[in-house]
């Protein structure tokens, strides 16, 4: 585990160093032990090749501005030298998550690449078949376009690790064979869950299918035992599979959300009250429970409830549990407070919850009639749920005179126009990592110009200060408080109107597979089907 940071001065420059000790019982699949050399190499090689050039996940994990170098101290400990004190995002959830590669195998290849004219292209062109791995599985055969088979890795270091979770939140990791033991919190009281690592299956077969129909039919016919699908099963399949014998369905929440964003740089979307009025109009429960019949669930905060530790539940929820007429009345009040007016003001009858007169011709605070604007929505083909949400939102806005025109658009087109900030309003979605630093990247003013991640061009100096301090925050508890305050601020300003998300529904052959646990954020498929802990029934 990493030691806390201490400041050191080495040949004139100040560094923040931390030494990390490595488990001694791990081996590569070719039998060689995993040592500090491999760890040091896994950081120094990408630094030498410049992570940005490497692309993929490298720039995210290894940030050349912060990480200066990694030195090997002895066979099983390394020392990290950083130029500045890293926050949780850069250290625990950043650098320490990087991949460790076998130096014996990759060393010569990287050296040869460095000498070539275009080192990255040279390196990426290398065919990594037969590369020693540390994971539970080794690739046995890969038939392109048809299937991939894996065999258990004989030298799998973590085989036999028993992780025990206690009701009081304590956690013990113990491997009786190799004597490794590691605990956090006081390990006593009743055990909530105990999982023993180690592949129990002698062969793993992945079949590559091109559409969900084929997958579900194969599942029902018994040709496959589990369907790996990042979108989860559609409603029709769920209903059918629930009724099919010896097939179990699993429902998990997903770490992401679908949202609607306005281009704040364009008048009048910059006005907070306008966004709040639109948020109030949107009846999320009506669509998720009635129209989509429970396939999706309403969501109000920028951090999904699935990410329990960071999720702030008491966030301002605009228009929650309001009837149709109450929403319209509230929205009209908000718009009026910001100086909007109408050619024909919408009238509602609160008791009978009826819309007496539909609003027409919204006039902006600057006196001019609001021009109709384009609300880009996913097409029915790409994502029927977002398509339905978008259309309904469009109808509700038109109902009170907001001249919104719903335009189903191709995903690439939406990405391009939001990237170039050439749009009015759009509806997209994000899938996120565990550490909520996405709030910094989405809403920090530095990301506002074209090409950055702050597509809605939200600029709030107070928020910027808060998000920068959150990013640099090493302490978990303080980081959580800051995250909660950020969520409250965003719920008030509503740069994103968070709409909904869908639980991930998966199915597997209950007569053949037995999973130690099935409640996991983003579903079983997020952990590759938990192949190393699943057990065969017969």
């Amino acid at each position: 585990m990493p030691t806390p940071f201490k400041e050191e001065k080495i040949d004139g420059k100040t560094f923040y160093t931390s030494t990390v000790r490595i488990r001694r019982d791990l081996k590569w699949s070719d039998g060689k032990p995993i040592t500090a050399d491999d760890v040091a190499f896994s950081y120094m090689a990408p630094l030498a090749l410049d992570p940005n050039k490497l692309g993929g996940n490298w720039p995210g994990n290894i940030d050349p501005d912060i990480l200066n170098r990694v030195e090997k101290i002895d066979d099983y400990s390394v020392k990290f030298l950083l130029t500045e004190l890293p926050g949780l995002a850069q250290w625990q959830y950043g650098m320490l998550q990087a991949f460790i590669l076998p130096k014996a195998y990759w060393g010569p290849i990287v050296d040869k690449a460095l000498k070539a004219a275009d080192p990255v292209k040279e390196l990426l062109a290398h065919d990594p078949a037969g590369e020693p791995v540390a994971g539970p599985w080794v690739v046995e055969r890969w038939e392109k376009g048809a299937f991939v088979t894996h065999l258990p890795n004989k030298h799998y270091g973590l085989k036999g690790d028993t992780s025990t979770f206690y009701a009081n939140g304590a956690f013990v990791l113990e491997n009786k064979k190799t004597g490794i033991k590691w605990t956090t919190g006081d390990a006593k009281g009743d055990i909530k869950l105990q999982v023993v690592e180690g592949p129990y299956v002698d062969q793993l077969r992945f079949r590559i299918l091109q559409n969900q129909n084929a997958a579900v039919l194969s599942l029902m016919k018994g040709e496959v035992d589990f369907v790996l699908n990042s979108l989860g099963l559609q409603r029709g399949f769920q209903e059918q599979l629930k009724k099919t014998p010896n097939i179990a369905t699993v429902e998990n929440s997903v770490n992401g959300f679908r949202y609607m964003g306005f281009n704040l740089a364009r008048y009048p979307f910059g006005i907070k009250e306008f966004r709040q009025a639109v948020a109030t109009l949107i009846d999320r429960e009506y669509i998720t429970q009635r129209v989509l019949q429970g396939v999706a669930f309403a969501q109000y905060s920028v951090v999904p409830p699935g990410n329990a530790y960071w999720f702030n539940s008491d966030v301002k929820m605009w228009g929650k549990d309001m009837t149709r007429s109450q929403r319209i009345a509230e929205a009209v009040k908000l718009l009026k407070s910001a100086g909007f007016s109408w050619e024909i003001e919408p009238q509602v009858d609160l008791e009978k919850d009826k819309v007496l007169k539909r609003g027409k011709g919204l006039i902006m605070p600057d006196g001019k009639k609001m021009p109709s604007f384009e609300f880009m929505v996913m097409t029915a083909g790409y994502d029927p749920l977002r398509y339905t949400f978008g259309l309904n939102i469009g109808t509700w806005m038109q109902e009170i005179g907001i001249p919104c025109e719903v335009v189903p658009t191709d995903f690439n087109v939406v990405l391009t126009r939001t990237d170039e900030r050439d749009y009015d309003a759009f509806l997209l979605g994000w899938s996120l990592g565990l550490y909520p630093d996405h709030m910094h990247w989405f809403f920090h003013s530095s990301q506002a110009p074209a090409g950055g991640f702050n597509a809605t061009q939200y600029v709030n100096p107070e928020f910027d200060k808060l998000s920068e301090s959150f990013l640099a925050e090493p302490d978990l508890i303080k980081a959580r408080e800051k995250a909660f305050r950020m969520q409250e601020m965003l719920a008030e300003d509503l740069p994103y109107i968070v709409l909904f998300d869908t639980p991930l529904i998966e199915a597997y052959r209950s007569d053949r597979l037995e999973y130690p646990f099935t409640k996991v954020l983003s579903g079983i498929q997020y952990f590759g089907g938990m192949t190393s802990t699943v057990n065969l029934k017969n």
Binding site: K53, E143, L209, L415
Partner: protein, 424 residues
């Protein structure tokens, strides 16, 4: 036998050696053929160049570019995106990119795919080509054969029940919504009746221990099939060429064909690939039948309509008067003169089978060139999209060229320039 007939005053009718058929005529044709060929090849290259330019700039005009992939992960900084663009050469002005692309193309290098960086485009195409050829060429040939045979029959008996029935069935399948029909057939045959494999092109259990990869076996199949086709063509050309079309010669021809196929099976067995080839064939049955059901009506109706013209010709009446058997009259007189449009559509559809079919590939999980074309086109992967489009496009251009040459063979009245020969 006519007794030695001496025309009044002519020399006595000594037996004269029979003239060889078409000798000097062929010589005349060869010359015009060569001149025509050169012209056509020139046109082919020019068309290809124009086509490539249009495709390339169409790709550039597509909204967005490949680096958008990085927009999905918030942690990746701006620098990485610019770096990727530089790496892929997207930062150079489009015109220079185009020039380098053309230079590379004519040196046989289709460039490197963006989405499967740094795999070369050739590599991806070659990986998927055998699979596509085996499935789609077989399907096309089968649907053409069924359509051709049925078309001749229903044109010959216009108005009979077989005509009405075949047309109604053909039309319903032709106009059926293709994705829907394939789903129904999969559900019916593979799932409910459980007769045929559900999808994919090989059975994993069998192939894990296979000494070959599926692509090599597909390669063998393409090679084997073309050798067999050539052999069968030669056999029929030798036995059925003459006008002597007796029962005996037909039986001999079929026996020889069976022999060739038997030999092929024995070789496959000897090399140990037979079970694998059989597994692929088993997986092919459902997609090929679906494609045939969908497409046979096209050829059938095409053949029927073009044959209705020739059925009423006088030489067909003359042929029946000559006492030739009915199928000879139908095939060598009526059908033979109506071949032009049908053969053209066959040659064109064979070429287009190179580019596979997106719906079939998705429904039957048979990843081929069709998916590559679609994903690359949508995913802004310029080199892969352009490379795949041009690669399959060449086949079509060559096919059209072959069709033009065939016209002259099919109908002597049409000379090589595609215009009628000077009237005799």
């Amino acid at each position: 036998m006519i007794p030695g007939h001496a025309r009044a005053g002519g020399p006595s009718g000594a037996l004269r050696p029979a003239p060889r058929f078409g000798r000097e005529q062929l010589k005349a044709r060869v010359i015009t053929m060569r001149r025509y060929m050169l012209g056509r090849v020139g046109q082919l290259v020019l068309t290809l160049l124009i086509y490539m330019t249009m495709v390339y700039f169409l790709m550039q005009a597509m909204p967005g570019d490949i680096s958008q992939v990085y927009l999905a992960n918030p942690r990746i900084p701006q620098a990485a995106r610019l770096e990727l663009k530089k790496q892929l050469g997207l930062d150079r002005p489009p015109f220079f990119q185009y020039l380098s692309y053309i230079k590379n193309f004519f040196t046989g290098n289709l460039g490197v795919s963006f989405s499967h960086y740094p795999r070369p485009v050739w590599d991806i195409l070659v990986e998927r080509l055998p699979r596509t050829i085996v499935l789609f060429v077989t399907a096309n040939c089968l649907s053409f054969y069924v359509g051709f045979v049925l078309g001749r029959i229903i044109a010959w008996q216009r108005g009979a029940t077989v005509d009405r029935m075949a047309t109604v069935v053909g039309i319903t399948f032709w106009t059926a919504f293709y994705p829907l029909l394939s789903l129904i057939l999969i559900w019916l045959f593979a799932f409910t009746l459980n007769r045929l494999p559900l999808n994919q092109f090989i059975e994993p259990a069998l192939w894990i221990k296979a000494p070959f990869t599926s692509n090599t076996v597909f390669g063998y199949m393409v090679l084997g099939a073309s050798v067999i086709a050539l052999a069968v063509f030669l056999i029929f050309w030798v036995f059925r060429r003459g006008l002597r079309r007796t029962r005996r010669s037909a039986a001999m021809a079929w026996a020889m064909t069976a022999g060739v196929i038997g030999l092929a099976i024995w070789i496959a067995h000897a090399t140990g690939t037979l079970i694998y080839i059989w597994d692929i064939i088993r997986h092919m049955i459902l997609p090929v039948c679906t494609l045939t059901l969908i497409n046979f009506a096209g050829t059938m109706l095409l053949m029927r309509d073009s044959m209705l013209e020739t059925v009423q010709e006088d030489y067909v009446m003359a042929a029946r008067a000559k006492g030739l058997p009915d199928n000879v009259v139908r095939d060598r007189y009526a059908a033979r003169n109506a071949l032009l449009p049908t053969v053209t559509s066959l040659v064109l559809s064979l070429a287009s089978s190179m580019s596979g079919g997106l719906v079939t590939e998705t429904m039957f999980s048979w990843p081929g060139i069709g998916q590559v074309l679609f994903r690359a086109a949508i995913g802004n992967d310029y080199p892969l999209a352009t490379g795949a489009l041009v690669f399959t496009g060449v086949f079509l251009l060559v096919a059209h060229f072959v069709a033009d040459v065939l016209y002259a063979f099919l109908d002597p009245r049409i000379s090589y320039t595609g215009q009628p020969a000077a009237e005799g």
